[in-house]
């Protein structure tokens, strides 16, 4: 393995997820099991419940910041879905044109 491959190994070494990741997975599996059908109703990002609890403890201003990030995320997801759909429609319309 040459120097570049060695550097790549170091650059791409494994990184740890957040400390509460395993707890969030456990929570998600419990919700999933309770739902039974495996449905996922995603209205906001999965990190919301834990982050909200932490920030409520940290104080009002931080919670407002958190709410703002959540609102922003939902706007971006909505626009992303809209953009994806319009892009797909445009591509299909172009394909259909003689």
């Amino acid at each position: 393995m040459d120097w570049l491959e060695e550097e790549l190994r170091q650059a791409l070494e494994r990184k740890d997820p957040p400390p509460d990741f395993a707890a969030r997975v456990a929570h998600a599996t419990r919700v999933d099991s309770a739902a039974g059908s495996g449905r996922v109703v995603r209205v906001w990002p999965r990190w919301l419940p834990v982050a909200a609890a932490v920030l409520l403890m940290a104080g009002g201003a931080a919670y407002r910041e958190h709410r703002g990030r959540v609102a922003k995320e939902r706007v971006m997801v909505a626009m992303r879905i809209t953009a994806d759909q319009l892009n797909h429609i445009q591509a299909r319309v172009r394909e259909a044109k003689p």
Partner: protein, 173 residues
């Protein structure tokens, strides 16, 4: 209930699998997507999928194979759904006008960034090779492609990375 019985027979505990492999799954997704939050979401989805399919898992090794395979698939799906910025072929990554003669102390970050600009398939091949230290045959089995294709992706990607680094004055030592 069937899943639980299977778990008891194989001795594989889901929570143990999460603890043992969360870094692997998260990192595969993170190095591929270069987006921490999205990588967390993908990693969570992968483990949720594992939980639903625990009845199919035959052994610890099988679990690892399953996790790598699904993490790769979900990460690629997430990248395609994201489409926030156009895919930039490695050849198109902008280079500074002047050749830098000084060694870049942030080489790791530069390499991660350059890998992140690779098209999806070669990018995943590179992450599998250098994060997971997998042989081309193992990568071929995971990504369901010929070994020759895996090797070609590796060779070409390394050549391009070397070229980009040399232009920046970063070379072997």
């Amino acid at each position: 209930m069937i899943g639980l019985e299977r778990e008891e027979q194989t001795g594989i505990d889901f929570a143990d699998l999460v603890r043992e492999h969360q870094s692997m799954v998260f990192s595969l997704s993170y190095h591929f997507l270069h987006d921490r939050e999205l990588a967390e979401e993908v990693a969570q989805e992968v483990f949720l999928g594992l939980h639903r399919h625990m009845g199919d898992i035959k052994s610890g090794e099988h679990a690892v194979f399953w996790l790598r395979k699904v993490a790769a698939q979900r990460s690629i799906d997430a990248a395609r759904r994201r489409k926030r910025r156009p895919q930039v072929a490695l050849e198109e990554v902008a280079e500074p006008a002047a050749r830098a003669a000084v060694y870049d102390p942030l080489l790791g970050e530069l390499l991660r960034r350059l890998v992140g600009t690779l098209p999806e398939t070669p990018r995943m091949v590179m992450v599998m090779r250098y994060q997971e230290d997998l042989a081309p045959a193992e990568i071929a089995a995971l990504l369901e492609m010929p070994i020759a294709t895996v090797k070609s992706h590796l060779q070409r990607s390394l050549a391009l990375l070397r070229e980009k680094l040399e232009r920046r004055g970063v070379g072997g030592y």
